[in-house]
Amino acid sequence: MSQDVLLPAIGPDEAPFWEYTRKGELRIQQCSGCERLRFPPRPMCPDCHSTDSHWTLVSGRGTVWSYVVPHPPLLPQFMPLAPYHVITVALDENPTIRLLGNLVEKAGDPINAIDPATIEIGMAVQVVFEAVNDEIHMPRWVRV
């Protein structure tokens, strides 16, 4: 199915995120100068201006901040799935870091399997990973 999915473009700033998801870990870039978590990843900390950073393991727990249910017209990769949903998850460690994702019963389920009417803002979720190919393991989310 890999040719049917929309894959992320990965530059040097993003590469560590995807290296860690391949190991089943959700890690967020953290400033080595002042320990501020930042997202999306980028070279400089806006607080202390350090360009040193590391990738810190987070719990993978969060809450649904918002969601949408896209309907056609869509890109061809998503047409067969419509209507599906996209959620935004605020991480427990820092709720201003909100990862996009999809709610599933278990990793590997299609993103239209869950009835969007059962999604609630504030719902607790936990990250899981779906290997869409050898390189890209996409974070998805299950209810806690």
């Binding site: 992320p8 473009a9 969601y67 869509l74 935004t88």
Partner: protein, 378 residues
């Protein structure tokens, strides 16, 4: 800057789903027409400002219109965030003496051209945190903020419907509006197909081919022009801290977007405050952007934007008439330049939905992107 320059000419093409002329031709035609309205010649023009998204360069426009020496040219970025910023840029050039007769314009064939989000099915690095999970289009990106807004403040689809219907009513009085003859009922809205829940078809702007232009000169020179001068009182752009264009999800308060930042800049140099403003053109690529802009530009408190639309609040005769030509939702979607020209008509007293006694107005660009706004007065 304050009142140092004025808009003295405006023009627009026909608005349609499909115009035959090229974007270059449409731009050239509206610039010539706006100059004619201002009593000026193409050879008088020495300044040009446009959107970075223009497909035609100043070089080609200048060649087509037969311009002489151009001493100032510049562009403003971020699509629908650019409009008042473009006019502000040329006004600044006129006010500082870098040019004397400036034109600003937008020409776009969005109706017959491709949808930008569908232009390719690859993902750029910038979109890598959203698109792979299916958040593909502007409607999805703004839908995400809208759902959160509804959750935080108790707004409902009834409020979004108020916006769509109010703007549509204005378009129904404007023969140039694409939706001139198309009435909309609450049932029409509630039964419309979804685009990205919570947004339905009528929460989305039109897809239009069209072009518009305006001419800016000094307040002094404006006295010699045939049209009532419309003075540029205050202009600002807005790029708040930790902003992300369209997918503004990664800061403390995503629902407090660029409008708030832009409003601070706008009112800082303005003698005209929100309570003095008689009519507003608020950028409406999506209906919820009007609600957010009402809050951001100080017409109500945070969370009150939805209720502001109740009981005809944003219609002519209401608390603050908004998008009196039909806006992007029902007149034409040309990256908001039609909002600029409509405010000029309001100040001249020639709008199809003239607000009685309107002598001050605001026009804003897109909430959700690095934006701009300006206050005009008679």
């Amino acid at each position: 800057m304050k009142d140092a320059t004025a808009i003295v000419g405006i023009a627009e093409s026909k608005f349609s789903k499909n115009l035959e002329a090229s974007e270059c031709q449409l731009a050239s035609e509206v610039i010539i027409a706006a100059l004619a309205e201002a009593g000026l010649k193409p050879s008088d023009v020495d300044g040009m400002a446009s959107y970075t998204m223009e497909t035609t360069s100043e070089v080609d426009i200048a060649k087509n219109m037969g311009a002489g020496d151009i001493n100032f040219f510049g562009q403003v970025g971020y699509g629908g965030g650019a409009g008042p910023g473009c006019v502000g840029l040329i006004a600044m050039a006129v006010a500082t003496g870098q040019c004397e007769v400036g034109v600003a314009w937008r020409s776009r064939k969005r109706g017959s051209g491709q949808r930008p989000w569908a232009a390719n099915d690859q993902v750029t690095v910038g979109a890598s945190w959203t698109r792979p999970w299916g958040l593909l289009r502007p409607a999805d990106e703004i839908g995400m903020l809208t759902r959160r807004y509804m959750h935080e403040y108790g707004a409902t689809r009834e409020h979004l419907c108020n916006v769509a219907m109010s703007v549509r009513k204005h378009a129904n009085n404007n023969p140039n509006a694409i939706m001139y003859e198309r009435k909309m009922t609450r049932d029409d809205y509630m039964n419309a197909r979804w685009i990205s829940e919570p947004l339905c078809l009528f929460d989305n702007c039109l897809e239009t081919d069209g072009a518009l232009a305006c001419v800016v000169v000094s307040a002094e020179r404006a006295k010699d022009c045939p049209q009532t001068p419309v003075y540029i009182h205050s202009v600002s752009q807005g790029l708040p801290p930790q902003h992300q264009t369209m997918t503004n999800y990664w800061n403390e308060d995503p629902l407090r977007g660029p409008a708030w930042c832009c409003a601070d800049g706008l009112y800082k140099t303005s003698d005209i405050k929100p309570e003095d403003i008689k009519v507003a053109q608020l950028y409406d690529a999506f209906s919820p952007l009007i609600i957010l802009s009402l809050e951001g530009y100080g017409f109500c408190e945070r969370g009150e934007g939805a209720a502001f639309t109740e009981d005809g609040g944003i219609e002519v005769g209401g608390r603050l008439p908004v998008n009196t030509s039909g806006g992007g939702l029902s007149e034409a979607y040309v990256h908001g330049f039609n909002l600029i020209n409509e405010n000029v008509r309001q100040m001249r007293g020639t709008s199809c939905n003239q607000v009685e006694g309107a002598d001050t107005c605001i026009v804003t660009a897109g909430e959700g992107v690095p934006t701009s706004a300006m206050i005009l007065r008679r």
